[in-house]
Symmetry: C2
Subunit: 201 residues, 2 copies
DNA sequence: TCACATATGTAATCATCACTTACATTGTCA
DNA sequence: TGACAATGTAAGTGATGATTACATATGTGA
């Protein structure tokens, strides 16, 4: 908060781009990515509603930047989660899954944004490349676990199975379906059970 | 189209409620459930922007009506899909999964709506009951397959695993992540592989 | 047949938003 | 130092949406 006030006292903001992204992220968590407005984000950052256009071409560009940053954080978290675990261990798989679900729970708005982006972004190379990087971590861990190369179709198939499952569980959690079904899910057991099942088909 | 024109010629629309729901559904498929507006739905139905409020209290009420109708269709499709397959067979599981994914592909907008409803609906009994009905079909088929009662924790756990997976795959498909990863997924093989894995843990 | 309550629809108003244009301030570097 | 790039503001445009006050059709009962 102090940062915002201080920054406002000068004509040039200093780091408006970053603060805008932060404001938008905050708005997305509270109102959903389809309901935030640039105007409101500007207000939050303490600048005029025209200022953002010096840093971003339009609304989709802001979302794209946010998603890229989000995916990098996701990558970093995943890599950190497996860093201390032995290569080729099943624990790595489970740790990746847990990290994924944790991320969804911590930032449901951003999580939905990353995966529910509009058609405007569908063909974007930069975005799909960032996505491949994240998925690549899962593929590598799966391949190591299976004792094959990451390029092996088997590794890709199993990794996709794991991803689908964790992805689905994440959505069911943040959309409140687990509670709605009056189910209590032991998540550790669940993740462990799934990876066991998928790896030993 | 003819219906719309004909209806517009009269002062009283005739069946505005149903036509509004249909218009909203159409908009949801093209713009997403967070981006449709009552005004635009009214325009589609050929009435003023205030007319809908004579039939629905507010926006959430319209969405709820749509979701309920959607879930009923989903239930019906799932029941139809397993009707001719033997009770307790794994084919039933796979057929349910395929139906689920097909539905998501055919009506991605509605699919997202059903699962991404706002907090306003989170505690709604009618909705969670409809959800339980759909999930109940999966639980029953899983229980039959395992040879246990539907109330058995084992059945619920396995059913949830299957649901998570199919749910995740559905989202990845409609969000274009499968293409984005330059992956070609053999869906039949995938569904079969997953059910095999989950059932024989 | 005819007043009238009710259901249904409209017009008008007001707020908000994305984005633009014209201009102001600041930092920087030749 | 002085030109210029970068970054900000003020004001405005056109589109869209929610809400409200008002208008009309229609079935009903006397």
């Amino acid at each position: 908060m102090r940062v915002l006030i201080e920054a406002k006292s000068r004509y040039h903001h200093g780091d408006l781009r970053a603060q805008l992204l932060s404001a938008v992220q905050q708005l997305i968590e509270t109102k959903g990515h389809a309901n935030f407005s640039i105007s409101e984000a500007s207000r939050l950052a303490g600048v005029s509603s025209a200022a953002p256009y010096k840093h971003f071409a339009d609304k989709p560009a802001i979302l794209k930047a946010l998603v890229l940053e989000c995916m990098e954080r996701m990558s970093a978290k995943m890599l950190a989660a497996i860093a201390d675990l032995p290569v080729g261990s099943k624990e790595r798989i489970d740790a990746l899954g847990q990290t994924y679900v944790d991320f969804a729970r911590e930032e449901p708005g951003m999580f939905r944004l990353v995966f529910g982006l509009t058609e405007a972004h569908q063909g974007d190379d930069e975005l799909s490349q960032a996505g491949q990087q994240v998925f690549g971590i899962v593929i590598q861990a799966t391949a190591d676990c299976l004792g094959v190369e990451a390029s092996a179709p088997e590794a890709q198939e199993r990794a996709y199975m794991l991803w689908s499952f964790v992805h689905g569980h994440s959505f069911l959690v943040i959309d409140g379906k687990v509670e709605a079904q009056k189910m209590s899910v032991d998540e550790t057991k669940l993740l462990n059970g799934i990876s066991t099942a998928v790896l030993q088909i």
